[in-house]
């Protein structure tokens, strides 16, 4: 007989082993799925997980991993603060959009002036935009006890409408012959977030690494990090320890919104280049998976963002080289989260076999 026994403390070993086991299980089940689709399973898995790193064209794919991974890491780091404290900001996608709009608006407003102050101002506008958008559900929660999951999620759809409207009117390229979409910021030197396009380096990548270090120090060495962890583990104890729960909600929403907004700004001023109707491609939602896959730990998030980026880029290679359907890649990414949650049981519970199991 199989029994689950709750561990007094989450297992340290399994905390680290669970994501690795989840990846291995995903590879096995993904392989079975690919075999069922009539593709060579090993070759497909190699294409997805290894080709971006070690194939003939790896010199092109490696920088792409940075481009794809940076916004995921940046947003996930922000989310991890709230998630640790039990504050669920699900609307990072909307904050990412609003950050991009606000930041791009600053750049477009001064076009074509060249000045070194333009880009920093855009970054500030992007951060503030994302932060304010995230503070809407934060303030509503603090003042009226609304559910931040619902409000932040619904605001994503509001942000999408705002984005469409901006791309069609206010921020539309006046030289675009009536077509939607703004000017290309990546081609406007003072506003471009690129450091080196060939190396895949833009300021968003730099910001993601800084955020990782900052989060690591804050969570492990600073009083605020302690408060966040305490609030998540035991809200009652946190109150006794003098943590103001309302302030914590606002700060956590502000951090996650600000970083999501920054990610949006770096993306619109670099890889995406312009505000367009379909500017957002789901980084805000994927970052939730990344945050959990990385165990809400800064280093873990960095690795998880890299892994997610790998499946995106490898998935595209598999589509075009092996004719794998796009949905199969999405299915595999879904499996990854599914297996992680499944294996997570082992972190908090011990499995016992046979009659000898204590109850």
């Amino acid at each position: 007989m199989l029994m689950l026994e709750k561990r007094p403390q989450p297992s340290k070993t399994w905390t680290l082993a669970a994501p690795i086991l989840a990846v291995i299980l995903t590879m096995i089940c993904g392989g079975l799925l690919f075999a069922a689709l009539g593709k060579a399973p090993l070759e497909t898995i190699r294409t997805i997980f290894l080709d971006p790193l070690f194939s003939e064209f790896a010199w092109f794919y490696r920088p792409q991993l940075l481009i794809k991974g940076a916004p995921l890491a940046l947003i996930a780091i922000g989310l991890s603060f709230g998630f640790r404290a039990g504050i669920w900001n699900i609307g990072a996608e909307g904050q990412y959009i609003v950050g991009a709009i606000c930041g791009a608006a600053v750049g477009l407003a001064v076009y074509p002036t060249e000045s070194i102050f333009i880009f920093p101002l855009m970054v500030i506008a992007g951060v503030l935009g994302g932060m304010l958008w995230a503070l809407i559900p934060g303030i509503l929660k603090v003042k009226f006890d609304t559910n931040e999951i619902l409000v932040s999620l619904m605001l994503v759809y509001v942000a999408e409408q705002l984005l469409a409207s901006m791309a069609l009117s206010t921020l539309r390229n006046p030289e675009g012959m009536g077509f939607p979409g703004s000017r290309n910021l990546a081609k406007y030197d003072s506003a471009s977030s690129w450091i080196s396009e060939n190396a895949g380096m833009h300021w968003g990548v730099v910001a993601a690494f800084i955020a990782v270090i900052f989060a690591y120090v804050t969570l492990s060495r600073h009083q605020f990090g302690f408060n966040v962890r305490l609030a998540g583990q035991s809200p009652r104890a946190a109150r006794f320890a003098g943590v103001n729960p309302k302030l914590l909600v606002l700060v956590c929403m502000g951090i996650s919104g600000g970083l999501a907004g920054a990610a949006g700004l770096f993306e619109v001023a670099g890889p995406a280049g312009q505000i367009s109707i379909d500017f957002n491609v789901g980084y805000g939602f994927t970052a939730i998976i990344v945050a959990f896959l990385g165990r809400l730990h800064p280093i873990g998030i960095l690795l998880a963002a890299g892994l997610m980026a790998l499946t995106y880029i490898g998935g595209e290679i598999a589509q075009s080289n092996l004719g794998l359907p796009g949905a199969a890649i999405q299915l595999m990414q879904g499996m990854l989260l599914f297996f992680l949650l499944m294996v997570d049981v082992l972190t908090n519970y011990r499995v016992r076999f046979g009659k000898g199991a204590t109850t």
Partner: protein, 357 residues
């Protein structure tokens, strides 16, 4: 070493290997904005790809990536295809315009074909279809099929392409039924079955008994079928499974012949950057069979309209026409020039409501 020289090296190596194996098939890549099973826009581009495969057999190898978001991801997928040895790449959505130009700059030996855009380069052609000719035929039928005199129109985005379609349909509907009124709902999506179904329901509730759609899913067809007495038209693909009623006809995108011709040009080495805008006459726009739910005389006159558009005898935008604000646009007998049509951002006289800004 700069990106350009690395890439030049890579393409050089690729072209050397091509000469080494002269029998190497020509590789043609396709980038799709939706899934190949969307039943509309992407489905028809994929049919075009299959037509290329069938035409050339072993001589051509095709590859595709579906559901590619417009923007940075599109750029990466195009580069990856070019690195993978593609000789010709079709990028089949408007939003791929800037990425196509960027990637084409880095791969001067790869030919690109961008659908529905306006930016050309030495190795970038643009192509689109005069869908508005099909809209004119739809408007002609719709104006006579409606009993409530309210025609619902599901717009995707207020861009020239869509506005042109609305105008073309309205002009013909008005010509056969002076009392006709258009209600327009903007869905802000090309493909979202849930939103499209909702838009259709809203229009039906407002009294529309004909629904025209400029979105790609079959959801509006299903909504009309559920309502029972609402006429629809297939969009992008025939959507024949909803015929003979509610779907009474359709606009079919027929990319196959163009894709075959362009592939042939690459094989022959005669490929040049071109700007193609073909309509019913060239076969790029097809009018799906007009079903028996349409009275015989209406069907006959619709087919006559289709044929005169095909032969060029009649233009879908022929004066006298005024703009919505009443100002004169085209004099009697005058036809619209392609430049105005390409950037169309105004309604014709009689349409109500504003184009969202």
């Amino acid at each position: 070493m700069t990106m350009k020289t690395i890439l030049a090296g890579a393409t050089l190596a690729a072209s050397l290997s091509t000469t080494a194996f002269a029998d190497d098939p020509t590789k043609v890549g396709f980038i799709y904005v939706g899934p190949v099973g969307d039943g509309g826009w992407t489905y028809e581009h994929n049919q075009g790809r299959l037509a290329v495969e069938e035409e050339f057999g072993e001589a051509v190898e095709t590859v595709f990536v579906e559901s590619v978001p417009e923007g940075a991801d599109a750029e990466r997928v195009m580069q990856q295809m070019a690195l993978g040895g593609a000789d010709l790449i079709f990028t089949t959505s408007f939003g791929y315009m800037d990425p196509t130009i960027n990637v084409a700059e880095k791969f001067p030996d790869v030919m690109f074909e961008h659908a529905t855009g306006y930016k050309q380069a030495d190795n970038v052609s643009v192509y689109s279809a005069r869908f508005y000719e099909g809209r004119a035929v739809q408007g002609h039928i719709a104006g006579q099929m409606t009993e409530s005199n309210v025609i619902g129109y599901i717009g995707s985005f207020p861009i020239p392409e869509v506005i042109r379609g609305i105008n073309a349909a309205y002009i013909q509907a008005k010509a056969v039924n002076p009392d006709v009124e258009f209600k327009i709902v903007w869905a802000y999506t090309w493909f979202d079955p849930a939103k499209e179904a909702e838009a259709a329901s809203v229009l039906i509730e407002q009294g529309a008994d004909v629904i025209l759609q400029h979105t790609d899913s079959t959801a509006p067809q299903a909504a009309a079928q559920a309502a029972g007495n609402v006429v629809t038209f297939g969009q992008a693909s025939d959507m024949a499974e909803f015929g003979p009623f509610p779907r009474v006809s359709s606009i079919i995108d027929n990319w196959g012949p163009y894709y075959i011709a362009r592939t042939q040009a690459v094989i022959d080495g005669t490929w040049e950057s071109t700007n193609t805008w073909d309509g019913i006459g060239a076969g790029m726009v097809g009018i799906g069979e007009i079903s028996d739910a349409v009275p015989a005389d209406v069907k006959a006159s619709a087919e006559a309209l289709r044929d005169s558009l095909a032969s060029g005898e009649y233009h879908a935008f022929t004066g006298p026409l005024n703009k919505q604000d009443g100002s004169a646009w085209l004099a009697d007998g005058e036809t619209a020039d392609d430049g105005t049509l390409a950037g169309m951002s105004f309604y014709v006289e009689g349409l109500t409501g504003d184009i969202p800004q």
